[in-house]
Each structure stands twice: as C-alpha cells, then as structure tokens.
C-alpha cells in the first residue's frame, strides 16, 4: 500500500526546483502528445517556447507576451496574498470583469469629453469595481461564516451576466447599429490605454503589474501585515494568539486581490480588448490561480510564471496555426503544467512509503 508521509523539512532547493522540473516534464509529456497527434514534437516545442522569444517575428511577439502576462501577474500577485493566509479567492475572474465594467462605465459616461482626469478616474473606478465584488464574499464570510471559495466562484457567473447586459444594453454603442458591444476606446483618446512605446506591448497595465509585484514583495518581506498573512497561513492558532484578527485579514486579502483584479480588467478593456463585449472575459482570473502557484506564491516568482504562461498561450497560437495542432492539445499542454507542478510539489513535501496492508510501520 502507498502511504504519504510528510517530510520534516521540505528541501529548499526543491521548493524552487519543482516549477522548473514541472516545465521540463510538461515539455516531455507534451512532446509525446504532439508526437501521437502526428506532429514533430521538437518543432512543436520549439514553436511554443522558442519562436515567440527568438523566432522570426519575435519583435512583435515579445510585446504580445507582455500584453498577455500583464493581467495574469497583476491578478496572481493579489491572489497569492490571500492564498498565503489560507483565504481562497477563486472568483478573480468575476472581479476582473466588474473592474472592466465599472471602469468602462465611467469612461463612457463622459464620452466624448476630453480631459486628462478621465483615465485616472477610470482606473480608480476599475479597482473599486473589483474591490466591491470581492467584498461580497468577504463580508459574507466574516458575518455569516460562508465559504469564500463558493461565494466568490458563483459571483463569477453573476459578473458574466452583468457583462452581457452591459454589452447588449446599458453600455452598448449607440452608433453600433444595434450590435452588441460598447464604443471602442481606441477611438476615444482620453480613455484609451495605448502602448506606451509603440510595438513593445508595454501598456499601463503592464506597468501596474510591475508596481504591484514590488508592492507585494515589500509588503510580505518588510511589513507587519505581510508577517501576519504568512503566520495566519502557517499557524492559524498561533496567529490568533499573536493578536491577528482573522476577519480583518479576510477583508484585507480579498479586498486587495479584488482591487488588483479590477485594475487588470480596466487596463484590459481600455487597452488590448478596446471595448466591453460579450466575450470580454477571457479566463485571466482562472489562469491567474495557476500562475500564482507556479510562482510559488512569491511576487517575483509570479512575474516569471506569468511570462511562462503567456509563452504557452502566444506560442500555442503559433503552433496551432503553423502546425495545425488542435486547440484542445494546447489546452491539455497548459493543464499538464499545473498537474506536474502539483505532483512534483507533493513529492517535495511528502515522501512515499510502501507498506504492506494491515501492517503499519510505525
């Protein structure tokens, strides 16, 4: 019989080695999958991991990596705070959508006024939208002890419904011939989030992601709140004795992650997406959960992980068009990454013991 036994001190090396190992294992298993599909596995892996960085069109695709990684990092960094404290915000997708809807609503409400204040106010509105959406599970948890995983997840579907209402109703472009979708922000300079340097993919959302990473790093390393977060996650009882108020921590962590997800939403809607549309939600909020764990819940790790994840998306698109790989194979490939990470994690924290049935060794 197989039995898992917790290792007394998990290896420091392996806690950072597992993500690398997971990526390597994903390449091998993914390569086998691609080979079974009748494609050249080496070419496929090269198309996914090498071409976007150093291939013929890398000058365009590198920027796109930032576009894709920006919102992932922004959301994941926020989520990691809660995850460290044992507060599970699974509904970042909903907070991301609400941030976009709030921010876009503010921008569109004053259309076509030109003022430098519009964009900053939109950003604040976006952060507020995400924060409000995260406060619902936070308050329900602190008041009625509901499960924040369920509540935040269910609110994603509510947010999606509000998004379709916005696209077909209250934010619909009045000059759009009745088609769904809001006005385009690229035609409204005061509310547009353009590339700061043309062709680099660097927009304000990417800048915000970098700032958030630094902010969270400092918070975790140098601030009392960071200490409380870590303590609450590792030893909840000890944290309570040390005077950490669990309710305050729930409100803080959910609020911060909600606001950051909301920020990602408003930067995305005013920049790369360009408008509120029915299909605006693209799963960033869910993918960010993978990114947070791939990055070891560490801000700097998350930055790297978001770039790796972006690579699988952008490279995956290339592999899909150039090699005719089915979309599902690319998604399976991304899924493998999380699978191998969790598997390798388990083995670095636990050791497997073989025992005979009925004969406990202890």
């Amino acid at each position: 019989m197989l039995r898992l036994e917790k290792r007394p001190t998990p290896s420091r090396f392996w806690s950072w080695g597992t993500p690398v190992l997971a990526v390597a294992l994903t390449m091998i298993a993914g390569g086998m999958l691609f080979a079974l599909l009748g494609k050249d596995p080496f070419l496929a892996i090269k198309t996914i991991f090498w071409d976007p960085l150093f291939g013929e069109f890398a000058w365009y695709l590198r920027g796109q990596l930032l576009v894709k990684a920006g919102p992932l990092a922004l959301i994941a960094v926020g989520l990691s705070l809660g995850f460290r404290a044992g507060i599970w915000n699974i509904g970042a997708e909903g907070q991301y959508i609400m941030g976009a809807v709030f921010g876009a609503a503010v921008g569109l409400a004053v259309y076509p006024t030109e003022s430098r204040l519009i964009f900053p106010v939109m950003i604040l509105a976006g952060a507020f939208g995400g924060w409000v959406w995260a406060m619902i599970p936070a308050i329900l948890k602190t008041r009625f002890n509901t499960n924040e995983i369920l509540v935040s997840l269910m609110l994603v579907y509510v947010a999606e419904t509000i998004l379709s209402k916005a696209a077909t109703g209250f934010l619909r472009n009045p000059e759009g011939h009745g088609f769904p979708g809001s006005r385009s922000f690229s035609n409204y300079p005061a509310a547009h989030n353009p590339e700061i340097f043309a062709g680099t993919g660097m927009h304000w959302g990417v800048v915000a992601a970098f700032i958030a990473v630094i902010f969270c790093y400092v918070l975790l390393q140098r601030h009392i709140v960071g200490f409380q977060i870590k303590l609450a996650g590792q030893a909840p009882r000890a944290a309570r004795f040390a005077g950490v108020d669990p309710n305050r921590l729930v409100v803080l962590c959910l609020g911060l992650s909600g606001a950051l997800a909301g920020l990602a939403g408003v930067f995305e809607v005013s920049g790369p997406a360009g408008q509120i549309s029915i299909d605006f939600s693209s799963g960033y909020g869910f993918t960010a959960i993978i990114v947070a764990f791939l990055g070891r819940l560490n801000p700097l790790g998350i930055l790297l992980a978001s770039l790796v994840m972006a690579l699988t998306y952008v490279g995956g698109e290339g592999a899909s068009t150039d090699l005719g790989l089915p979309k599902a194979a690319i998604q399976a490939f991304q899924g493998m990454l999380l699978f191998f990470l969790l598997g390798a994690d388990l083995l670095s924290n636990y050791r497997i013991r073989f025992t005979l049935i009925g004969k406990e060794t202890r």
Partner: protein
Amino acid sequence: MKRRTLLATAALALGMTVGGGAFAAGMDHVKACFVYVGPIGDGGYTYQHNQGRLDLEKALGDKVETAYQESVPEGADAERVLTQMALGGCNIIFTTSFGYMDATNAVAKKFPDVKFEHATGFKRESPNVSTYNARFYEGRVVQGTIAGMMTKSNKIGYIGSYPIPEVLRGLNAYYLAAKKVNPDVELSVIWAYTWFDPAKEADAAKAMIEQGVDVIAQHTDSTAPLAEAAKTPGVIGFGQASDMAAYKPSPRVTSTIDNWGPYYIKRVQALLDGTYEQTDSWEGIASGEVEIGEITDALPPEVKAAAEAARDAIADGSRHAFTGPINKQDGTAWLADGQTPPDGDLLGMNFYVEGIKGDIPQ
C-alpha cells in the same frame, strides 16, 4: 527605445512586403488562412466553414495552401492571431465570426497587401477588407412552415445566441412563416449568450420542452438541442448551419446548411487571377450558399410538400421571408402590404415583429 520602435516598424514593413506581393498581376500561389470561433468538430457552424476550407483545397490543389486556428476568442486575442497570420505569410484571411469585426479592420490597416474577408459583419474600413454573409433567414421560412404545421401545443421555441440583427432576422422569419400557416402559434425565446456551449444549449432545450414547446429551432452551433429533443417523443428540431444528419429522420426533420466552399473558391481564384476586388456578398438559397437539407419522411406528406414549396418559392424569388404587411412588436408599421424590406433594414434589425411576446434583452 526609439531604435527599437524604428526596428519594429521596419520589420513590420518587411513583413508586409513578404506577405503581400503583386496583386494586380495575379499570383501563382495563395496562402489562405481561416480564423474559427469554435472547434472544427462542433458539428455545426465552424465545421461548415472548415468544410469550405477543405473544398477550397480540393478545388485549387497545389495553387493554394491553407492554415486555420480554431476556438479563437472574439476579443483581444483575435487581433494577435490575425497579426501572426498576416506576418506568417497568409495572403487572404477569412475571419468567420461577427465578433472579429474590429480586430479584422484594425489588423487590415497594418497589412494593406493582405486581403481580409470578414463573415457576417458590416465594417469595411480599408480597401482590403471585404465582408460576406449568407441569407440564413431564408432557411428559417422552411423551418417556420414546418413548425407551424407540426406543433400540437401551438408552442414553438427558438434558442437564440445573442440578440444581434443576424439572429433577430432568423427569429422573426421563423415566427412569421409559422404564423402564416398557424395563426395561433406562440413563440418562446431563450437567449443562451453563447455560440457554442452544449451544456447551456441543452438546458435551454430542456426548459422549453418542460414548458410544452414541441418544435425547437436553434441559432447556436452544437447538436445538443437536438440530442435533448430526441429524449422526448413528439419533439422535433432542425439542423443548424450543418446538416446534423445523425439526428435524422427525427427529431431533425430538415436543416439549413451553410455552404461556404463556392465563395471561398471564388475569392481565392480571383486572387490568383488578379481580378480580386473588395466586395460585400450576401447570397441565399438561390445561389446555393444556403442549402436546405433533406426534408425527412418523419413529416406528414402535406407538411413536407408545404416545406418544399416554401423552399422553392424563395429560390425562384416569388416569396420573400419578409413580405408586408408586417408590424413591429410595439404595433408600429414596418412594411406595407406586399412590400419587402431593403437590405439595410435587415442588416440592422433590432426588433421583434408583432405577435412575439417578451422583450429583447437590453
């Protein structure tokens, strides 16, 4: 940073010349690329576009090379996929869903030598963007005729995707045709807010059947509603976009088939010949772009005859799906006796016709 921008611009220009070539003089070889909104195995809308691509390969042999990408979200990602395709040397790119409209036009501006063909949209912002569509609503007349004659409960249903003109046209045409043969008929509508989501589509069908609806038409892409109808004897439905022949002879009693092959062949051939021009194409049953699938013997002979008569009358032009007098839902006049609408009215249709209950979601 300036140098990088310069480099990027230079490379972009290079990409365009590589991707382009001399058009007016014709070409020896064309790379045609396709962007699909769903998986090619959806058995419906995307499947038919992919069949069109395969027809193109078959017809033009080694003069054409094709590539495609499936399940591309209708948002920020579409723009990157299109850019990657244009950079990768595609000469003509077919974007096969409404939601790619802005992305298609944005990328087309950056690649003036690549031809873009956008399905079901209306924006042609630069000379290299053409639009094409099929008069699917003509097929709804056949379905509506069958629905009106076959329903025992006088309740017929329509699973809509999004309340956009494309879908409202089909819905109104279906209802008008049903009412013509059965003045007591009532239409219930469910908006699924998706093009392809078998679970949601099945739920919609289930809800309708529970309300007593016994004929279900769908404007979504999967076969799930038919699978649901098959569970209840006496409930019938129609193949949408593809023949969905697996559900013959009942519940699938006939189908509307999108036949894109001839259009794709025509356009790529024009590119090869050097006769390519910007167009806005909208063909229907008469030209074969919209096909009516086999009308099965599960229908009584008189119903089958009426359905065939409706099909033939539309093909020879003696019947139009919208022939006055028709009022809008609120009672205001739309078409006078004997009048048929201009295409502009059809393209921007944003209302229910008189007799349909409920509101279009706003």
